[in-house]
């Protein structure tokens, strides 16, 4: 199939554009997304194309925006609410946790909430503690939410298009470092179902599991490992909820070793949960404890050197992989 190399942010725009053209119920609201085209240019041109009714700037009122999006979804529309930073989604947590996630169950299945919150997280550039978090674990724990974290332009487009055609609230979590990254995206209708992990790099010696911006870091680590004669398999779940346990477990059953790489801080992160699943299902197959490479348990500092020290780097992944392979004489500390 024909492919084009485009940026992550352009892939997102294509998905929104195509779905808005296809379904008049789709609309998007957010701060500076209309006239300015969004802080990351994802929504550039949409106002001109779809008009002020379906592409709206909002005041600074995250709880209101999210709540209004949830209400519109309940009433049959297909809202996309863009929140500038996932950190700010905390202002709308009641609407996410107590309304969007609960409505289906509370109505005995009669009500659905096809609401999409698009936002971005991650550390980088010295934007400090309130603009650098990776909060997927908070949404991951709440039953009723879908959690999507694309790492490539192709996944971003395919998953966002799918999100706009399914019936549940979606936390669509982008990464501030990925918007300008490029990748091949298939021409024409390109949709990726939720719950299908992608093997970003096949390998046989060790399974490396990573999502969002940790995928490029992990792939780079895999290359370095390859140079050391270690053949790593890199799995990107792409959607954390629903989670493609089968692909993960099949890989670990094969390699007998797993490293989970997460940008978010270690304590209570999604990596811990995936680890708990692997050890529960494959305890007797594992040749080493599942290793977790994650951020430090402390808010992200402004200072760039310390910011870097607080999130996983390529070398941390390489070291963890070597550790589970017992490739080094002395065992390093687990964290």
């Amino acid at each position: 199939m024909a492919m084009r190399e485009i940026m992550y942010r352009d892939a997102l725009r294509e998905a929104i554009d195509e779905e808005m053209a296809r379904n008049p119920q789709v609309f998007i609201i957010g701060e500076g997304i209309a006239e300015r085209g969004g802080s990351y240019k994802v929504t550039e041109g949409l106002l001109a194309k779809y008009g002020p009714k379906r592409v709206r700037d909002t005041p600074i009122a995250e709880a209101g925006m999210i709540g209004v999006g949830v209400g519109a979804a309940i009433a049959g529309a297909r809202p996309i609410v863009e929140i500038l930073y996932v950190d700010f989604a905390m202002l709308g947590m009641d609407m996410i946790v107590n309304q969007a996630a609960k409505f289906r169950l509370m109505t005995g299945g009669n009500g659905r909430v096809p609401f999409i919150m698009r936002t971005q997280g991650g550390a980088g550039g010295g934007v400090a503690a309130q603009h650098s978090q990776s909060l997927e674990a908070l949404f991951y724990h709440i039953p009723g939410l879908r959690v999507v974290m694309p790492s490539t332009p192709s996944d971003a487009k395919g998953l966002l298009k799918y999100a706009l055609r399914q019936e549940d609230p979606v936390m669509f979590l982008e990464h501030k470092h990925l918007y300008m990254t490029k990748g091949l995206v298939p021409d024409g209708e390109h949709i990726i179902e939720f719950g299908k992990a992608d093997i970003k790099r096949p390998g046989k010696d060790v399974t490396l599991i990573a999502w969002s911006n940790m995928v490029p870091t992990t792939l780079a680590a895999a290359e370095e490992l390859a140079a050391q004669g270690i053949d790593a398999e890199v799995i990107d779940p792409r959607t954390l909820v629903p989670l493609d346990k089968k692909t993960i477990l099949d890989s670990v059953a094969k390699t007998k070793r797993a490293v989970i790489v997460q940008e978010a801080n270690r304590r209570g992160g999604v990596a811990s949960d995936i680890c708990s699943i692997i050890q529960e299902e494959l305890f007797y197959d594992l040749d080493a404890p599942v290793s977790i490479v994650a951020g430090l348990d402390i808010p992200i500092p402004f200072n760039l050197t310390l910011e870097k020290a607080s999130v996983p780097q390529k070398q941390d992944v390489v070291a963890a992989a070597r550790r589970v392979l017992h490739a080094d004489p002395i065992e390093l500390a687990a964290e």
């Binding site: 209101g64 999006g69 209400g71």
Partner: protein
């Protein structure tokens, strides 16, 4: 407080009967429901709408098919006024599969999306953004549907009040926010919650036409709501209505409400919205006493059969529930 021009023409007998039927149906539902609660047939929360019937009745009688409502934790009245089937409401309170939410929701979560009822809510103030969202969806669809969110004095102190009413205003949405100011949040008097007890002024401060009405006068509430609906449909955007009222008892079934001053309670009971609706039907509507008696008997019977229906209904099984949970 700005007041809209009132239509001169008096309400028809049909409207007066509709209003009385609704108000009385709510009264019966709550009175009998409390008995079921005391018998242990209903569990969890039960916030009676007793004394506030005039508001849901007056508001909903001014709305049309295709419109939306969003309700509160004290939501039975809104649901009934919106035309809900008492059978399915009672069944829901009795945790039965035949209930509106199959027994998954209960009193604080009865909803019926199929007819535009966005549901009661366990989070005070949450109905406001949800209602604004429905109004936004309608505008985007090009529909002239109006959405009413019922909120409360307590709910007007929640930040979502400002955030979402402001959004409705700048977007000119067909949205009506009805504050049921019963002057209490559980046992906390409104005087303790805010310096300015005329809550409609909060709408004026953000450019929203805002009005105050006697919530115990169903006809007045109806008239004002009709005006508000016309303003919305005329493209003027949202309207705020503050309806002053008072509970007839404590906050919920198990709250004796001893803290409610007797004289104040007496004052409002003397202005009982159901009595007023009945009087209006008899006097303005010229209905005969036996007509009214017949209506009351009919409604009582309807509730009785709803209870029988519900008792005879079965509950969702744990197996079916686990089935439902798959993929959550």
């Amino acid at each position: 407080m700005t007041t809209p021009a009132r239509t001169a023409n008096a309400p028809s007998k049909a409207l007066l009967e509709k209003i009385f039927r609704t108000a009385y149906k709510i009264r019966v539902f709550e009175t009998e429901g409390i008995k079921l609660y005391r018998q242990g047939l209903i569990r969890g929360y039960f916030h009676p709408y007793l004394g506030q019937e005039g508001i849901a009745t007056g508001v909903c009688s001014a709305l049309s098919e295709g419109d939306y409502i969003a309700s509160t934790h004290r939501g039975h009245g809104h649901c009934i006024a919106w035309g809900a089937d008492v059978k399915r409401m009672v069944a829901e309170l009795l945790q039965k599969e035949t209930g509106y939410c199959k027994g998954y929701g209960g009193s604080m979560h009865i909803a019926d999306i199929s007819v535009g009822n966005l549901g009661a809510n366990g989070i005070v103030g949450a109905g406001t953004p949800l209602g604004v969202g429905a109004a936004l969806a309608a505008q985007i669809r090009g529909s002239d549907a109006v959405t009413v969110t019922f909120t409360s004095d307590g709910g007007s102190n929640n930040g979502t009040f400002l955030e979402s009413l402001n959004l409705a205003a700048i977007w000119n949405l067909n949205f009506i926010l009805v504050i049921e100011n019963n002057q209490y949040a559980v046992s906390t008097r409104i005087e303790e919650s805010t310096r300015e007890q005329d809550l409609y002024k909060r709408g004026l401060a953000i450019g929203v036409p805002s009005f105050q009405v006697d919530g115990n006068d169903p006809i007045a509430v109806h008239d004002l709501t009709r005006e508000a609906v016309e303003m919305c449909r005329a493209g003027k955007g949202p309207v705020l209505i503050e309806a002053k009222t008072f509970r007839h008892m404590g906050h919920h079934v198990n709250d004796p409400g001893k803290y409610m001053p007797e004289d104040q309670l007496a004052y409002y009971k003397a202005r009982d919205p159901v009595d007023r609706a009945r009087a209006a039907l008899l006097d303005m509507g010229g209905a005969k006493a036996q007509e009214v008696a017949a209506i009351e008997a009919e409604i009582a019977a309807e509730f009785e059969s709803a209870v029988e229906f519900s008792k005879a209904s079965s509950e969702v099984t744990p197996e079916a529930f686990r089935e439902f949970a798959v993929g959550y």
